[in-house]
Symmetry: D2
């Protein structure tokens, strides 16, 4: 509704008030126009009402929401339950066309616009977080599928931390032969005491052998340390694609992945391999969240998380000292931390996992007790001390993480409960 184009009777509103109203509309229109024209994250987060207005206006452009539509196809985005229609803002057509997630959807002009805009905003965010060379990215409404993996065990360092075994990596490439390798896969973010893989060196290896290199950057987009590794890897070697979850990096419900790379054609070819049309719900979540946070809001979250990680680290060192345990140093892991549980050494595997249950029933989620002694065979591979990241892990440990959105209050409460459980568990062991 553009008040400037409507002939409004003075009996509805006095002229001077109308002028103020038109002024109010102008600001909003400018905000919408700039977003669409610049295709960049807004500096400051938008209000809920602005976000919803844009989303509703986009949804109104999809054919299922046209006022005089006649639908005689087999897929017309009819929605039976009004609650479902409402929670999806009447978006029903999904994204892409069969077999290409990025192709425009003829019945869904608004969805198409939203999808493409979201991908531009994500690219802007990736740049802002430090991967300046990234050229293209898109949001896929699922996690990526696997192929036949060849696993290279990390190197177990003296202090208990684990890092990339580069020699083993290089040896394996030679052993198998580059012609039999689809790509090298590395991981940035993972549970301590495992560290971020040495993706720079693996990149060099990839370049040397002309092998594609895919990085699982699961929850690493919000860490400037990890995005710096990505940028360096791409500059000094070969890194083709890096993939990250939306839930952990953008605080949306589980279900989407951002697939990004340094060559537009390559990224687009991944989009083309998608099996069919996809849900647009993950896109909508990411779109609304990015507008809600804005650049400043996201950077504030990033900064707070880093500070909370330092705080968690300091408190964990304090706890370790008092209880004669140690924080297993994993200097290249800026998110997850591990505390040794050497004192529980005599308890068996089953018994030690109960320490985890004690924490969980007190409301602590995300803390994992990793015990030694669980040997498993999965798809032909044998894993000794499964879950510990290494076959030769000697003692149990507890991992915790300072993920995006964690608060200082949560950390304080965690140590209250950790203390309680620690005392209770020691008593229990003594019996």
């Amino acid at each position: 509704m553009d008040l400037k184009n409507i002939n409004i009777s003075k009996s509805l509103i006095p002229e001077n008030y109308l002028r103020l109203a038109i002024e109010a509309q102008k600001f909003k229109e400018t905000e919408f126009r700039e977003l669409i024209e610049k295709r960049k994250l807004p500096k400051n987060g938008w209000s809920d009402s602005h976000i919803e207005e844009l989303v509703r206006q986009l949804s109104a452009l999809d054919s299922n929401n046209l006022p005089k539509k006649v639908g005689v196809g087999e897929r017309e985005a009819r929605i039976a339950c009004s609650l479902v229609a409402r929670r999806h803002y009447n978006f029903g057509h999904g994204v892409g066309r069969s077999g290409d997630l990025l192709e425009a959807q003829p019945k869904a002009a608004g969805s198409t616009l939203m999808v493409n805009l979201t991908n531009y905003l994500l690219l802007d965010l990736i740049h802002e977080m430090g991967v300046r060379s990234c050229r293209c990215c898109f949001l896929a409404p699922l996690a990526t599928a696997g192929l036949i993996p060849v696993i290279i065990e990390p190197q177990l360092n003296d202090n208990g931390s684990m890092s990339t075994n580069l020699e083993a990596f290089a040896q394996k490439v030679t052993d198998i032969g580059t012609e039999n390798i689809l790509c090298l896969c590395t991981t940035t973010s993972c549970f301590a005491p495992r560290q971020c893989d040495d993706i720079v060196e693996v990149s060099k290896l990839a370049a040397q052998h002309s092998l594609p290199h895919l990085v699982n950057n699961a929850y690493g987009l919000h860490s400037a340390y990890l995005t710096h590794q990505l940028e360096q890897a791409q500059r000094l070697g070969r890194l083709d694609l890096f993939v990250q979850s939306t839930d952990k990096n953008l605080l949306v419900p589980v279900g989407g992945a951002i697939i990004a790379g340094f060559d537009e054609q390559l990224v687009r070819s991944v989009a083309k391999a998608y099996p069919g049309r996809a849900s647009s719900t993950q896109t909508l979540d990411v779109f609304m969240t990015l507008l809600s946070l804005g650049r400043m809001g996201y950077m504030r979250l990033v900064k707070e998380r880093k500070e909370n990680f330092e705080y968690l680290l300091a408190r964990l060192h304090g706890f370790a000292k008092i209880h004669s345990e140690q924080v297993i140093e994993s200097k290249c892991n800026p998110i997850s931390l591990a505390l040794s549980l050497k004192q529980f050494r005599n308890a068996g595997f089953e018994e030690i996992t109960k320490f985890g249950s004690m924490l969980y029933t007190r409301g602590v989620s995300g803390a994992r007790v990793v015990a030694v002694g669980d040997d498993r065979k999965i798809e032909g591979y044998e894993f000794l001390n499964w879950g510990t990241h290494h076959s030769r892990t000697e003692y149990a440990y507890l991992t915790i993480a300072a993920g995006l959105g964690i608060t200082k209050v949560e950390i304080d409460n965690f140590f209250v409960k950790l203390h309680e459980c620690w005392e209770a568990f020691l008593k229990r062991l003594k019996k």
Copy 2:
């Protein structure tokens, strides 16, 4: 967001799809413009999403929702609880200024526009329902207040129905003296067996004595029969104002009244007498409801109600015949019906009201058992057989109504339950 004014990259949306999107916007804009320019009820009801978009755009014009506002007054429509803000679409300023409900509100351009637009739509509806001479009306967020009443008992007809006692009316005017009378008050819609007052004749009496005449048209706006009486009364005599509830006539939550009349100055002077600024919530409900129904939707409700009344009347006659009771004829009451309860005559007042409780605990609401024998004194007046409309009522009766929105299924279920209770109550009486 006006797509025509935005420079949209082809990487966001292909040009041919964009053209379709712009076309889609145009329809909506036309709908908004026509409403505001014509100030008439739309012919067909709007979709929920169109209604909400208009409401949100109006609310965005109020000063509390301006993006860069600075509020240093004592009333700034700040809303603490986000749920409250959400359910009011961020409207917070109420309507009117102290002491005049219809004055524009400087801090609330959007609210002002909505209030005035709603009053125009209501006037259009009143015309459509048959009161063509009505010149002005407004929505007040409360019921009207009383003064010192002089009560004129209706005339009890042979068949048990009650109608206006015109002679008593005229006599009372003479007895009291016109100089001591503020106005004559009549009622159109009320519980059967009372009929609609003979407002045409009372209007003539009012004209003859130059006395103002106020009609309580509580739930009569949706009955063409009653609105015809209003129009006739105004043409043939004097009728100043008629007042009706919004809940029963427009199916909104309880809390508003439409005050209407034939002289704009008179109606406006009532608006000026309102004690302070008022809530805009009732206006918002009425505004959304009128847009949702449209002229056609409201007329369909009116028609269905009339048909359901005929059906209820026929079924009630059937029930009366089988159980040897009678439908007390009140031919001038097109909404409410009464069924005699002569067979329960020997039960006392307390006992008979239990028949009503039986119905209520079976989910029947709105059916009232009116027993004789409750004599009360209220503000100096003595009422024999209080609740029956008449001091000489001889037997109990049951009143039911076919109000706007009633369904045939409800009527069918009612008779199932009435039958059950009737049998059970007779058994109980026999014990």
Copy 3:
């Protein structure tokens, strides 16, 4: 849904997870039970989802929401527009019965419970804010109506502030005669430079003459200074009722008043005088807001406002010094402030009000420019310098207020804009 009472197949959820789920339910149930049993403000605010769950459960108890209902009355709380039903959480019956706001509503068990609970929570809040002797209060969905006022001009102090002219008050009581006076009316919160009335002394006067005393405590409930006056006035003299707006004291949309007093019967008799059933929407807003804030949340708002008032006062003194104006001292007004506009003295009344418009078009709302020279006659009374609170006001001033919810950022922005306008207006005057 009480998981403990449902026989849940293990194929739906493993037993150990079910135990955790049952634990989660227990906390919520306790919260609900304590609220209803204790009828006190919760210490900490509730989450949105807990508030909405309670509200929906209450609404489900009203007869219009019963699953198998049969409605054959003329008022059945049918709601035509689903958007309206949704925003009212399906509450439709309003509160009270005709003529008594506090009477239970038979068709609306849930509404009745909510209304009574809200009134208890408000009483608890009034106690918490300092009026410990208050015995009863209720929320009315409108402002209070007026009677024939006798106006007693305040005393104009040397520094430009205005306070209660107690002598004139006492003299007027003697002149008119107590038998001709319904009650004494005083005001606590009002625009500076007027101060809070000396309600303690007026209370003594009221006690001495056995006259009822009503205090308009418009936006004074959130000021401990003003509530202390109320408590003292009641202890040392006679104070019957005090009335306050909900919008300014509880940050809800405009439209409700809290009527409170020290004698339960008196307060209830006011509720009985209400003309008809009323909207429940104001109650719902207050109920949700109180639960959302909790005691701690409200007290934090109160504290922040007081600090922001001090900050506003300090900045205003700074501004006054630089521009050779003065803050008109009104030490008994803890909310509103006035700045002299002596330099604009030569501009006429019309011209000076343009200074206010300049501020408003820059987004400043709530700042009022009060100029001398507007003489009016209202309902027989002559007001010289209308709007200035006094007939002998000598120069224009600007009033601003630090109301509940104001932020430091708003104050800072205000001074930026005040400075801009000041410079621009002085230039304009020089032309």
Copy 4:
């Protein structure tokens, strides 16, 4: 909130009203309990408020919504944007654990319950629709992925319809060798003039060669004709899995598939192959929709669609007769229809597709103009007359479908616009 367990003061609600309120709660609790205990579609659809209450109660059981939670993991279902949290009812954890969609999710007891319940309700629906032998099914939040296809062109019948070329099928199996075939794939629902594959005969072939048989039942679940084929195929031959979209069969937004089969272990093994945790949003949509429709509501939709298909067929025959075209008979296709466009034969491929554009710009979506002459090579396969289903198609045709949810009004409007476009296009061709 269980009113029976709360000690409620009579000052909050009179005892007799409280009894009614408790009665009202009981009905709702029964509905919830029966759903969870019986795990069957409710007979009648639930009201929106009952659906939302259940959904919210389930969501409250997930760990991210626990009131006193401490989250120190890397995935804690924190949601940044309150609009996103709201539209997902605070569900954030997704479904399944890495690599198994059906495994219970420890942090999400409520989600787990919802997922399993939804799968039971879907199984009940599949039974109700006629596939009585189906043993297990689950909802996957994406479409299924493809493998290397071997395409068997359908047989082109004399009347222009196309059906399964069984001989070619059998020949191909022999040619390739069963050891080189993963499974046989057939399709039930597709664009006319292609018919439903003869899945019964292909099933016999599959049984004979011990080959798995997968049916793409895209939008066939709502057709009793097609589900009957499925049931027969399974009884008389071998049919392992059948897969269908949720959007077209259940009227939810695009994005989910129901994977169903006759052997529980087989279906579960598909769930285990899912690459990672998945979004729960498609489950939530389906869950709410099934409760909203109930068995009766769904069956009403099915019946209406069938009637509308008959109506569309009759009208299309009428149109064909008048314009000397023919409805291409495809008696085994109960959803989609084709109209020959022989008169446009002289127009080229590009030109004919414009007829489709004309319809689309008039608001007709879903009607496809299929022209001959588009030869393509996709992944090594050559397709002559791509899009027409057959290399030897001789003339263009128009396909339309009567999908679930279509209305008679849409069909009527379609023929108005078809007529308009037909006349306009003929004129254009003559130029």
